[in-house]
Amino acid sequence: MLKINNLHARVEDKEILKGINLEINAGEVHAIMGPNGSGKSTLAAVIAGKEEFEVTEGSVELDGENLEDDAPEERAHKGIFLSFQYPVEIPGVSVTNFMKTAINESRKAKGLEDMPANQMLKLIREKAELLEIDRKFLSRSLNEGFSGGEKKRNEIFQMAMLEPKLAILDETDSGLDIDALRIVANGVNKLKSKDNAVLVITHYQRLLDYIVPDFVHVLHNGKIVKSGGKELALELEEKGYDWLKQETVA
């Protein structure tokens, strides 16, 4: 489904991604772990099409199609979803109106009519329930004054609404208490199918107890330095990242 070939990306003069190779197939869950500043969020943003980062080499393909020329919204229409590490506050647009706009713009891109209002409401209600989100919450301005946990839960609510092919969860676990973590993980698992895939970016093993990965990759200094099964996450949890750094130097 997703194929990343020798991806190099930089911002201004700073090279951040230094040759990433990664292949994710439908039905799989991948986890990327790695120390702060290793380039995890950059990788996520580059996949989602953030123009601030310049791809200098390599490619990102979705279902065999190079995404190079696709704007972020086009990638979204093709089924890529990014749950932000730091969701942006947008005062003046309610969660509901935002979701309506997003859904209808995606439908428009596919040549479909607007979703009928009652159907939209039903969908919103259903997905809010899945993530145990209070109805009052939906009329609030997007992310404005939300707690860290509320923001993350709202990201997964959006994911549930948009039903992406590939969901990238960038540190969705940070800021969540254990109950919220369970709700969010449960939401993700409910959406999981053999036709879609999830890329979980996390610091900690914690989330991976709930969203169990098929593969774990370690990103360090803009490169994937190690890949393995889910037991690699446990190993990292135990040993930290220092041993890896030494290993790469050696």
Partner: protein
């Protein structure tokens, strides 16, 4: 002949037609003297530094329309808030249109300045209020005073509230190659009364129109007035709007100014707080493109203690547009416990657009709360990416952010149909269909 000379000579003919016995005659003559002396304001004056009337003065405006023009309601319906029932005071090329209007004398007077200035039954109101808060010094105001003859007249007696909002609309038909209009309106809300007004100037062709309008508003004790200015005029229309508001104890007056259209718009909005526990609120949304120019000059004069004023102006400037916000707050020495807030936030969406924003505070009391802030920024790139990553195309995402930016100013609009209309005008102006019902 330049415009000033033309106005001066027209004045003689104008006065000959009017009742010289009326006390208003003296007021007009005095006012004309002031204008003759000062002429049009020039860019040398601090208050007119960023707004030039030079090119307007070169146009050969007709001061009075040669003929009376009729308009079909169906052709101008869209300019009314037609979704609801309203009183209407409508002028076509400066002349009252009884056909398009719906006035009343049922408990309240919603009618014409020309009747108020001439009919004996209104003499007392005119004596007490006419030209009492309007400046006798500011040159364009006095020019309007000199030619004061027609406009809206609204008188709401004590404890009354009209059954519906009032729309004041000034149409210009383009029957004159270029037309100057000087509407003069007087609005009096007596003790504990309530009133909602929507004002609009609308040119129907691309012929030049220059409107120099003066509105005097008096809010007596505990009166509540909500005034909405919808400025979405044609690209060849210029407007200088001089609004003077005098408030008494416990009154609340809110003025919303929505500036989306026109070539040149200058709003001189002046509040005088002649009492205690007064609330004066000014809100503005300005969205400009092309070569449009809007200049908001506000004044709040805190004359008595324990009053509040709130100003919240938002501006979005695109293409070659230019904007000015100058907010003056005066707090007199005895006006202790004043709360004065002023906020002006702007987004420049084009490199060529400019905004000049300046607070002007003259505070002579020591126990006051006064805050002001102005920002000039671009759209937040991270917010744009966030919206795009959810499938909202860049153009719509930009519009949504601008909409969101301007939107909170609309919260205080009390007429839902007007709010919807303004929302639609904003969406239109931003060139998008937003994916939800406004």
């Amino acid at each position: 002949m330049d415009l000033k000379e033309k106005l001066v000579s027209s004045f003689l003919a104008f006065e000959n037609d009017m009742d010289v016995e009326s006390p208003v005659h003296d007021i007009r003559s005095e006012a004309m003297k002031n204008f003759e002396l000062k002429g049009f304001p020039s860019k040398k004056e601090e208050a007119w530094k960023y707004t030039s009337l030079n090119s307007l003065q070169k146009i050969d405006f007709s001061i009075f329309p040669k003929e009376i023009s009729a308009l079909e309601y169906k052709n101008v319906k869209k300019y009314f808030i037609h979704e609801i029932d309203t009183y209407k005071i409508v002028f076509v090329d400066g002349i009252y249109s009884s056909y398009l209007s719906e006035t009343t004398h049922d408990g309240v007077d919603i009618c014409l300045m020309s009747s108020a200035l001439t009919k004996p039954m209104y003499k007392q109101v005119i004596d007490v209020y006419f030209n009492k808060v309007a400046s006798k010094d500011e040159t364009l105001t006095t020019l309007n005073t000199a030619f004061s003859k027609e406009g809206a007249f609204i008188y709401i007696p004590k404890n009354k509230m009209p059954k519906k909002p009032v729309e004041i609309i000034h149409f210009s038909t383009g029957n004159e190659a270029s037309l100057m209009l000087q509407p003069r309106s007087l609005i009096v809300a007596e003790e504990n009364s309530e009133l909602q007004v929507i004002e609009r100037h609308q040119s129907l062709t691309s012929n030049e129109v220059f409107t120099n309008s003066v509105t005097e508003i008096f809010a007596a004790k505990s009166a509540i007035i909500d005034y909405y200015k919808v400025q979405n005029d044609a690209a060849s229309a210029s407007l200088v709007d001089n609004t003077y508001i005098s408030q008494k104890d416990h009154s609340h007056v809110k003025v919303h100014t929505f500036s989306f259209g026109g070539k040149l718009t200058r709003n001189n909005l002046n509040f005088y707080q002649n009492g205690e526990h007064i609330d004066s609120t000014m809100k503005g949304v300005t969205i400009l493109g092309d070569k449009q120019h809007v200049d908001h000059h506000t004044l709040v004069h805190h004359i008595e203690p324990n009053c509040e004023s709130h100003q919240d102006y938002k501006g979005i400037y695109g293409e070659n547009s230019t904007g000015v916000f100058n907010g003056k707050i005066i707090v007199d020495k005895i006006a202790q416990k004043t709360n004065a807030f002023q906020q002006n936030n702007n987004i420049l969406v084009s490199d060529k657009a400019t905004i000049n924003t300046k607070p002007q505070l003259e505070i002579f009391a020591d126990d006051v709360k006064c805050s002001h802030g102005c920002t000039i920024g671009q759209l937040d790139e991270d917010a744009l990416f966030y919206l795009q990553s959810r499938g909202i195309p860049k153009k719509e995402a930009r519009a949504l952010l601008m909409y969101a930016f301007a939107n909170n100013v609309l919260e205080s609009v009390k007429i839902p149909e007007l709010k919807t209309r303004i929302n639609k005008l904003i969406a239109n102006k931003l060139g998008v269909r937003l994916g939800f019902d406004l």
